[in-house]
């Protein structure tokens, strides 16, 4: 064996090991975080966490029932804002706009996606909170909804664009107008991908803290309706984790686990929905 072949083998083995180690490291970071969260959260979680309000400062016990409901309300309202706008905008982009318009909107959406979430919070603060002179669920949902728009828009556009031309032609050849073709063939063929993307967007904003700090603010009691400040899991985690009390630290871990659990449930729901219906086979 010549020297150059030996050298190449050496380099090859070295690089193979290096890439392997990096892969293992990235996966183990994830598992370490998950394990740590499940361990700390699991030992701190109890029934009261889901059913009771936070206790006054200094008292131990209590729960975060109001934050769980608050997060649910925020996410629901955020979806009502972000999903229709993003979805319909995506349809326009994929099906109706010229390529010049599309590239401008696409670029703008990517920029919007890159805006730091704290800036979204400031924006929602100045647009919604200041005029109403009130922190509120709506203001928080506005900030989160804005963040959902670009993700939903881009993924809708991408999945609609991926629907093969021959399906559209099949519908049009039967006398379907463009709009009917989109509604009855193109969207149904792409809905799995679009739905997955929407749920991922939802999971992403579910964990956002910064946009909520000065929009939904926080609340140690139940928040009634949509115009009151509300507690949410991420903000509670932030508040409790930086507090000096051990019992609050414990509850912050529990809240982290619950948040993770919620996201997991969303994912499982998505997969269940996706496993039904008929997919277009890849070719």
């Amino acid at each position: 064996m010549s020297a150059s072949v030996k050298w190449r083998r050496l380099v090859s083995n070295f690089m193979l090991t290096l890439t392997g180690v990096c892969a293992v490291v990235s996966v183990s970071v994830l598992f370490f975080i998950l394990g740590y969260l499940v361990y700390n959260g699991g030992t701190s979680i109890n029934w009261a966490f889901f059913t009771q309000l936070p206790t006054p400062v200094g008292e131990t016990g209590g729960g975060m029932a109001n934050a769980i409901v608050g997060s649910a309300k925020l996410l629901m309202a955020a979806s009502l804002l972000g999903v229709p706008i993003g979805f319909l905008g995506g349809i326009y982009l994929a099906e109706f706009s010229g390529s010049a318009v599309a590239s401008v909107v696409r670029y703008a959406a990517d920029l919007l996606n890159g805006v730091p979430s704290i800036v979204m919070g400031i924006f929602a603060y100045s647009i919604v909170v200041l005029p109403f002179k009130h922190f509120s669920t709506l203001a928080g949902a506005f900030a989160l909804g804005l963040m959902m728009i670009p993700i939903t828009l881009r993924s809708t556009e991408e999945f609609l664009g991926g629907v093969p031309r021959y399906l559209r032609e099949g519908a049009m050849a039967l006398g379907a107008s463009k709009w009917k073709t989109i509604a009855t063939v193109v969207v149904p063929a792409a809905y799995r991908g679009i739905l997955t993307a929407i749920l991922l967007a939802l999971a992403r904003v579910a964990g956002e803290t910064a946009p909520l700090l000065f929009t939904a603010f926080g609340n140690r009691y139940w928040s009634e309706g949509w115009g009151q400040p509300t507690a949410s899991l991420p903000v509670m985690i932030f508040t409790y984790a930086v507090s000096p009390y051990d019992d609050w630290h414990r509850q912050a871990w529990a809240a982290g686990l619950v948040l993770l659990g919620l996201i997991l449930i969303i994912n499982i729901l998505a997969r269940t929905i996706l496993s039904r219906g008929i997919a277009v086979p890849r070719s």
Binding site: G170, A173, K180
Partner: protein
Amino acid sequence: MQASSKPGLSVNIATNTGAAGQGHLASLPMRMTISKVNFYYGSKQILFDINMAIADKRVTALIGPSGCGKSTMLRAMNRMHETVHTSRLEGEIQLDGQNILAQDVTTLRRRVGMVFQRPNPFPKSIFDNVAYGLRINGIKGSTSEMVEKSLRRAALWDEVKDHLYKSAYDLSGGQQQRLCIARALAVEPEVLLLDEPCSALDPISTAKIEELLVELKNLTTIAIVTHNMQQAARVSDFTAFLLTGQLIEFNPTPQLFTTPSDPRTEAYITGRFG
């Protein structure tokens, strides 16, 4: 399988020659007429001054080498070419004496159906695929009866009647293509256009579809694009031979294949090029 499908084919040829021998082109009623059609994609001209006609309740085949414009001609007949923005059509195409370019395009496509090169069932059940055209066109009547009728006409009913609600993608390629034919037939088109419907299929599936076409001409008018000359000879009553965007010869099929009037047709059908 192979052996059993062969007698069917030879019968087809026999009936064809009989049918086409009865009347010459000029003596038949025409469903569609194509006059002075020039077609462009951007600045590139694809079709040059095409004049031909599609005879009522007959099969008309368009043959020619790749790129000769036969598919373009077919797609223009129900204005599917309009999905390409740079396309431009000059001249006139008439359906029952009326210019199709002046009509509402969705109504036109309901009257002139199309089956594509590659089977393209929707990601829906077998039933919903056939019912699709009925539903979007708001056609009244019992959907399930019409679905059954269409599937029977496409000779697919016996194979699928027990699993109508399964995915259309569970069917084989040949069955999918017959499903697409059933889907097109469901809205009872006056003309059915087929764009190389067998090019993605195996010989047995091809034989079934050819058999089907010969039966369907009692029901509707058919125009078929094929790159397979034997297929044109087997199923069609009239054949148009196109070459580099020009209509070289348009005659009853037996005449075109036995005594072609143009030397280029003869060169093509005897396999000297193409």
